[in-house]
């Protein structure tokens, strides 16, 4: 039974890393949003499983928030933004898919080496959970670096936050205050970003961050 519990937790956390890789190679806006919704679903299942095995009912709330907000509301809202702005064509990536995937594999290997060694004393559940969570965080960072489009940077940032929530859920007994605040801050962050997106649209007819880069104050 003990073994089974661990296996399912690892399956779900590993699944999240896998979906992070899927996010890396999406080259269409709608597909990207759909995969992000899948990311949130896997996160939600993973957190719910943690709630079950830790007998920590408050984690079900975190799982519920992840499911409702990140798997449904935010993807739908971003979908509308994309349609309204007319940017549902392919996404430009910096550096191509192949090198990005290789870099991603390197980052996952790095986080495994670092976390498994550092947390050797911790219990196996927390240790491997942390390693997976760090992988998701680093892959999210990688995605933000390799995308130029503002919407896909947002998706990268939110996948990074998903990794953080995975880590927080795996930290047994961590106070609820923090988890709710994380979920809440994601919401706030989303609102802020949404406002910015609309203003950006209003002013430049583009959400391509490259178009914003022209001005530097020094380059004139």
């Amino acid at each position: 039974m003990e073994r089974f519990v661990l296996d399912v937790a690892h399956l779900l956390a590993g699944g999240l890393v896998l979906v992070s890789f899927m996010l890396l190679y999406q080259d269409r806006m709608f597909a990207l949003l759909n995969v992000f919704a899948l990311h949130a679903v896997v996160l939600s299942l993973s957190v719910a499983w943690q709630a079950y095995i830790q007998k920590a009912p408050h984690l079900y709330i975190t799982a519920g928030i992840a499911m409702a907000l990140k798997a449904v509301i935010i993807p739908v809202a971003l979908h509308r933004v994309v349609v309204a702005l007319g940017i549902h064509r392919s996404i430009e990536t910096v550096g191509g898919i192949g090198p990005t995937m290789l870099a991603g594999i390197g980052l996952v290997a790095l986080s495994m080496v670092v976390m498994l060694r550092a947390a050797a004393a911790a219990d196996p559940l927390a240790r491997e959970d942390l390693a997976f969570a760090l992988s998701v965080v680093l892959l999210g960072l990688l995605m933000m670096v390799t995308r130029r489009n503002a919407v896909s940077q947002i998706v990268g940032f939110m996948s990074l936050e998903n990794g953080l929530i995975l880590a927080a859920a795996g930290a047994k007994g961590m106070p609820l205050v923090v988890e709710i605040s994380v979920a809440f801050s994601v919401l706030v962050a989303f609102i802020v970003i949404g406002v910015f997106l609309f203003r950006i649209r209003e002013r430049f007819d583009s959400v391509d961050v490259q178009a914003l880069d022209d001005f530097r104050g020094e380059r004139r």
């Binding site: 050797a120 942390l130 953080l164 106070p175 910015f196 002013r203």
Partner: protein, 487 residues
């Protein structure tokens, strides 16, 4: 002992420091009219400052959410003081912005509410006894400043705000991962639940925390909060955010927000230092600090925008302060604390002056501002004094703190001191070069009179000059005590 007269106050000062800005933020969000709201903004920050000062006399009990010790009281008082003077400067600054139509009354209402929300978030971060709560507060502070930086809604302002938001969020996300790791490191020693995130409990059992996890946690916290401190190579947001937002926001960013992020780094440094098996945090901080200092020194030469130039100067000084704290020891810590105080006062004074200059000349380009001391003597000489102070020349306060940092470094590792002095001299050269262009020569541009209050500018400069000549005994004793606490 006879109960002190202040024990009869109807409020806890620590609560008041948080409640006043929180209530003011709500109030200012709904009140119309800029004169009234600007006035109320000043009043609220003054009340917060007074509440912060009573913390010296009447220290509350440490709770599980809030605590007051000798270290954070310094940050709170410094922060509320600069917050107060900046709000006074802001009141005279925004009237002009409203006149020329860069801001609308609706913008202003939002701006004032955000200003108070920022004060609340910073005090919350400083007084929090819980590492999770501190993280939430710093995130809130970031969001409010992002919104204030983007308030002009021009092309440049939006770019700056977007960049600040993205880099700031990534920094904050890394810091949260570090926070979770600290909890994981503390859980076996302290037990599950709340206590493993409480500062006072963490410090009491610091020696028993898991050193491996703590090491990784510190790297994440250093990178995460270091982004907010503006350390190179994570500084990219800082010059844009300073240059494109309203000038009072630049003053608050340099004078307060960078310090708050530094405070978070310092707290975790204390935790690391208290655990003998963990890596020493000092060298990492000293390296990043020195890198920022030298890098910013060279970057100062190519600035063509006056606010960006002083933003790079902030990177330089935050690097210097981080370096000194990284070196550690009573003398270096004392010097770093003093330098932090002096830098906050001087840099906000410079931004006050620059704000007026930019308004009267209608430009922020260095090339279009000439001969200030002739066209606007008072403002010009105020700016000259500020720049001389920030460059570290005697007799002003920064000279003393820089001298202490350099001499204590020479005593311990002369090689580092050589690099340090090189960086300082490079920055000095750049600042003097630009200053001679701006302040002297034939005046260009508008010669209109400045309709602004000089009180905030000159009161800061007077404090910096006073500190350079004579440091009061109680202040020295207090800083020495804190320096010992920092280890």
């Amino acid at each position: 002992m006879m109960p002190h007269v202040l024990t009869y106050l109807p409020f806890e000062p620590a609560i008041a420091v948080l409640l006043i800005p929180a209530c003011a933020a709500l109030l200012l969000a709904v009140l119309p009219g800029y004169r009234l709201t600007a006035y109320l903004n000043v009043l609220a920050t003054l009340a917060t400052l007074l509440a912060a000062l009573t913390l010296f006399i009447l220290r509350p009990e440490n709770g599980i959410y809030f605590f007051v010790d000798d270290l954070n009281i310094v940050f709170v008082v410094l922060g509320t003081f600069v917050g107060f003077t900046t709000s006074a400067f802001s009141a005279s600054y925004i009237g002009h912005e409203l006149e020329i139509g860069r801001l609308t009354p609706a913008n202003l209402r939002f701006y004032h509410a955000m200003y108070q929300a920022l004060m609340f978030a910073m005090n919350l971060a400083l007084l929090a006894n819980n590492i999770g709560l501190m993280w939430v507060a710093i995130e809130l502070a970031t969001l409010t400043t992002v919104l204030m930086v983007g308030i002009y809604r021009t092309h440049e302002a939006l770019e700056a705000a977007w960049k600040y938001f993205i880099l700031g969020s990534v920094g904050i996300a890394l810091a949260l991962f570090g926070t979770i790791l600290v909890y994981m490191a503390a859980r076996p020693a302290i037990g599950e639940g709340h206590d493993a995130m409480v500062w006072t409990a963490l410090m009491a059992k610091a020696g028993n925390l898991n050193p491996g996890l703590l090491n990784i946690a510190f790297i994440f916290l250093m990178l995460g909060y270091g982004t907010k401190v503006g350390l190179a190579p994570l500084h990219a947001w800082l010059p844009d955010a300073h240059a494109e937002g309203p000038t009072p926001v630049s003053a608050v960013l340099s004078g307060l927000l960078l310090n708050v992020a530094l405070y978070a780094v310092l707290r975790f440094k204390m935790l690391m230092a208290a655990n003998p098996a963990a890596i020493a945090p000092g060298p990492l901080m000293a390296t990043l600090g020195l890198l920022s200092l030298v890098f910013a020194g060279f970057m100062l030469y190519r600035r063509r925008d006056i606010k960006r130039m002083f933003a790079y100067s902030s990177i330089e000084h935050m690097g210097l302060i981080t370096f000194a704290f990284g070196m550690g020891g009573p003398l270096a810590n004392f010097a770093a604390l003093l330098h932090m105080t002096m830098h906050s006062l001087t840099k906000s004074a410079i931004f006050f002056a620059v704000g007026h200059v930019a308004q009267v000349k209608g430009t922020q380009k260095v090339a279009e501002i000439r001969g200030l001391t002739e066209s606007h003597p008072l403002l010009g000489w105020g700016l000259v004094t500020g720049v001389v102070a920030i460059a570290g020349l005697p007799p002003l306060g920064i000279f003393m703190s820089e001298f202490l940092i350099v001499s204590s470094t020479f005593a311990r590792s002369p090689l580092l001191a050589v690099v340090l002095v090189l960086g300082l001299l490079v920055a000095l050269g750049a600042l003097m070069l630009r200053l001679s262009d701006i302040a002297f020569g034939k005046p260009t541009g508008s010669l209109a009179k400045v309709e602004a209050s000089y009180v905030p500018l000159f009161s800061h400069l007077a404090l910096v000059l006073g500190a350079g000549i004579y440091l009061p005994g109680p202040l020295v004793a207090w800083f020495q005590n804190v320096a010992r606490l920092l280890g």
